[in-house]
């Protein structure tokens, strides 16, 4: 089936819906989403969204910008960080005007709380910058934006999965091809502009806070079409995942006063981050947890430590951390009011992704040459505001600030440009992929390959990395790719074929993993979330640059682009 729109948005999380709000009613826009929009993973974000409102104590956008740059270990593009910190304030106010139910101060203004790495006066002490709705801030953002979409009568294609991106030979984006999961039909969306807002790819790892549907679809498709990905080696592990399950316990637990303790009961962050302690950035805390475990100070010698909230008032735990309390009671049968909670770091957020400029335009080289008509925003994009490590709450800021900017730029673009003709046989690749998977007869199972991928990535490409481990992972990926060609699936029907969907998703995960490993092996230094045990120091002389990885007929090619530095020269990063 053929559709024609001015603008098509792929993904209905925070970034996609924020962009849709800019376009609705002003041009002909459609949102395609693999899930019902309210199922998107933005809804799982918990603790807050940062903005220097200064409602509770003195704060300035430039402090927020500095924290973002330092938190990202100076790999952040500072022009983008400035946009993020300045526009966060206005974006929060806009959300409030749309009905977002923020927690409030007694005088009726928005309340704010502490979060990791957010400080006053360039690192002096934690600052209360995070605006929040209990511990379901992401849920309320998703709901508020979906509510606006209904108000604005946005056209949705729910449970449509993107399979291909349409680019002309001269590199202009002309639309996407998507599978209607319910009917099995292919749909061609012909458009002047496309926004990819497809989220992350946490499912490349075994222990993750990410939804089962977070398989890097948009990132992998861009990569397959020969466009570069940026900084894929930087993947964040959140310190406090529920042990074994990986379900996220918010940094707000520590923002409200929670403490990490090792098996000896020690507050071990005193050793690693004497100023910010438990509220140091996530890369620092996750590494510290692993170091404690390695040195035999995990709980009962095992591979977990405790998140301790037992000293907090019951009232705070039950109301400000209500969802977290529910998770712990449901999945562990423990009560955070009286019991310490077993936690381990969990794969959480991709700092890297599809390179864009500050208007969301996808760029293809070190000169930031844009692809006409192609945009990306949210976790799938790399602006880069998070650099080598994202600060807590900045993902939601990223969504609303850059989703909004991308939407606004797209509106201007579709008003100034004509529809480009589609390439010939626009759906041939998507059709071939589906037919191949539906008809292939082999002895391999999708789930087996996926599990091996996730376990191997966890072992060799997670918090601690070495050249040997990454090379082993490269070999493993060759083997898994080979076996992937011999899969067969059980469900050969057209209607709601989730067996087919999972096979396609595994292909995307393999692409993402390959990009991560190639970039991580090349980067012979340690910076932010990328820690090489064989190169434990940050090396600004050689590595203060962004990685670009491109798939070519001869394999993966790496190139680099400079980091934009405006206000803050790189310094040693201590907390």
């Amino acid at each position: 089936m053929y559709h024609r729109f001015d603008a098509v948005i792929v993904g209905a999380g925070g970034a996609g819906l924020m962009a849709a709000a800019q376009l609705a009613g002003k041009c002909n826009v459609a949102v395609i989403s693999k899930l019902y929009p309210v199922r998107s993973h933005t809804g799982a974000a918990q603790g807050g969204i940062a903005a220097a409102l200064a409602n509770v104590e003195e704060d300035h956008w430039i402090w927020h910008m500095f924290d973002t740059v330092k938190g990202g270990d100076y790999l952040v593009d500072q022009d983008a960080a400035e946009v993020l910190a300045r526009e966060a304030i206005d974006a929060i106010i806009e959300l409030e005007h749309w009905g977002f139910p923020f927690n409030r101060l007694p005088d009726g203004r928005i309340d704010q709380r502490r979060f990791g790495g957010h400080t006053r006066n360039f690192g002096e002490a934690p600052v209360r910058r995070s605006c929040y709705a209990a511990d379901r801030t992401g849920h309320m953002i998703l709901q508020t934006l979906y509510q606006q979409s209904i108000k604005n009568q946005v056209v949705f294609f729910d449970e449509f999965m993107m399979l291909d991106l349409l680019l002309t030979d001269d590199g202009v984006c002309t639309g996407v091809v998507a599978l209607d999961i319910e009917t099995g039909e292919l749909h061609i969306f012909h458009a002047k502009a496309v926004l990819l807002a497809t989220g992350g790819f946490g499912r490349v790892y075994k222990v993750t806070s990410n939804a089962l549907s977070l398989t890097g679809d948009g990132v992998a498709i861009v990569f397959r079409r020969g466009l570069p990905l940026e900084d894929m080696e930087f993947y964040q592990f959140h310190p406090t995942g529920i042990y074994k399950l990986g379900i996220l316990l918010s940094e707000a637990c520590r923002g409200e006063g929670g403490i990490l303790r090792n098996g000896l009961g020690e507050r071990f962050m005193e050793r690693y981050a004497p100023t910010l302690l438990d509220l140091a950035p996530r890369d620092v805390v996750s590494r510290s947890i692993y170091l404690e475990i390695r040195e035999g100070r995990g709980v009962e010698g095992k591979d977990y430590v405790y998140l301790d909230l037992t000293h907090l008032p019951k009232e705070v735990i039950e109301t400000k951390l209500a969802d977290n309390t529910d998770f712990v009671r449901t999945y562990l049968g423990l009560d955070p009011v009286t019991d310490p909670i077993p936690i381990q770091p969990t794969a959480h957020y991709a700092m890297g992704g599809i390179p864009t400029d500050v208007d969301g335009r996808v760029t293809i080289d070190a000169q930031n040459t844009p692809v006409p008509g192609l945009y990306a925003a949210g976790e799938c994009a790399c602006v880069s505001v998070h650099g080598a490590n994202r600060l807590g709450t900045n993902s939601l800021v990223d969504l609303v600030v850059f989703g909004r900017r991308a939407g606004r730029h797209m509106l201007q673009f579709v008003q100034e440009n004509d529809l480009h003709p589609l390439p010939k046989e626009p759906d041939y690749r998507a059709r071939a992929e589906i037919e191949w998977i539906l008809e292939n007869e082999g002895e391999e199972k999708v789930a087996t390959i996926r599990t091996e991928l996730q376990e191997a990535m966890m072992a060799d490409a997670s918090v601690f990395r070495t050249g040997d481990g990454l090379r082993r992972m490269q070999d493993k990926l060759v083997e898994l790719r080979n076996r992937f060609t011999r899969i067969s699936i059980d469900d050969r029907s057209r209607t709601f074929n989730t067996d087919l969907v999972e096979a396609i998703e595994l292909g995307y995960l393999l692409d993402c993993a390959e990009a991560i490993v190639a970039c991580a092996l090349a980067r012979e230094e340690s910076r932010g979330a990328h820690y090489r045990e064989d190169f434990p120091q940050r090396d600004d002389a050689n590595w203060l640059k962004h990685t670009l990885v491109t798939r070519t007929s001869g394999g993966l090619e790496l190139s680099y682009k400079p980091v934009i530095i405006t206000r803050f020269q790189p310094k040693e990063r201590t907390y």
Partner: protein, 231 residues
């Protein structure tokens, strides 16, 4: 431990009516029902079809009937169910395939209550003020994840056309928001023949809500609001 899952299956391409199939899986007592379903799908029968995403009770994808009660499969643990577990699609919706139902009528009801803030007064340059006490009035109903557990647990919904609990919860969320200015329009919608008065305070909705929302209480608050504002 071993558990047997008795699952209602239906493939519209080959079946004229639903049937049951049993699967035995090896699971931990602390596993979620979703983990057991995944075991079946990934290693025994890839054609088993259900929705799922976040796997921790936040996205609302995997609402289904588990031993006769509406639950999120990711929020029920095996140890709370025993060795034999019957799993069926939500009642009151058309089954698309196996445990996947057509939720479009559910979302249509949601859209019918105008689920968005309405306030045409020019906003201040900063946030609109709202006291913690005013904010508290919408704390419970703003937790809704639109999973449909409540609505499809309602006997009235099975037999009669009406808005259903989830739509009313979302109407409540704006009706009780001090910043909203569409009280009259909202009350008119909720006061219709198909509105709150169809509720018989059976409390199935409250019992089914995986977010712990006091759904029946919210419906009663809306009823009272209609009575008092209209008199």
């Amino acid at each position: 431990m071993q558990v047997t899952l008795r699952i209602q299956r239906f493939n519209p391409e080959t079946d004229t009516k639903p049937h049951y199939r049993e699967y035995t899986v090896e699971v931990e007592p602390t596993d979620r029902v979703l983990d057991a379903l995944n075991q079946v799908k990934w290693y025994q029968d890839g054609s088993l079809t259900y929705r799922r995403s976040c796997a921790h009770g936040i996205c609302g994808s995997d609402a289904m009937r588990i031993n006769g009660r509406n639950r999120l499969a990711c929020k029920v643990l095996i140890k709370d169910l025993g060795p034999k577990i019957t799993i069926e699609p939500l009642l009151g919706f058309k089954v698309i395939k196996d445990l996947v139902v057509d939720l479009e009528p559910f979302f249509a009801q949601y859209r019918a209550v105008m689920p968005y803030l309405i306030n045409d007064e020019p906003p201040p340059t900063r946030e609109r003020r709202q006291t913690p006490e005013e904010r508290e009035l919408i704390e419970d109903t703003s937790k809704c994840i639109l999973c449909a557990c409540c609505t499809s647990a309602c006997p009235i919904f099975w037999t009669t056309e009406w808005l259903g609990p989830a739509a009313i919860v979302n109407g409540h969320r704006f009706l009780f928001d001090s910043r909203d200015r569409a009280t009259e329009e909202r009350l008119a919608i909720l006061n219709q023949r198909f509105g709150v008065w169809r509720c018989r305070t059976i409390f199935n909705c409250t019992e089914a809500c995986p977010r712990g929302i006091q759904v029946t209480h919210a419906i009663e608050q809306v009823k009272r609001r209609i009575l008092f504002e209209q008199s």
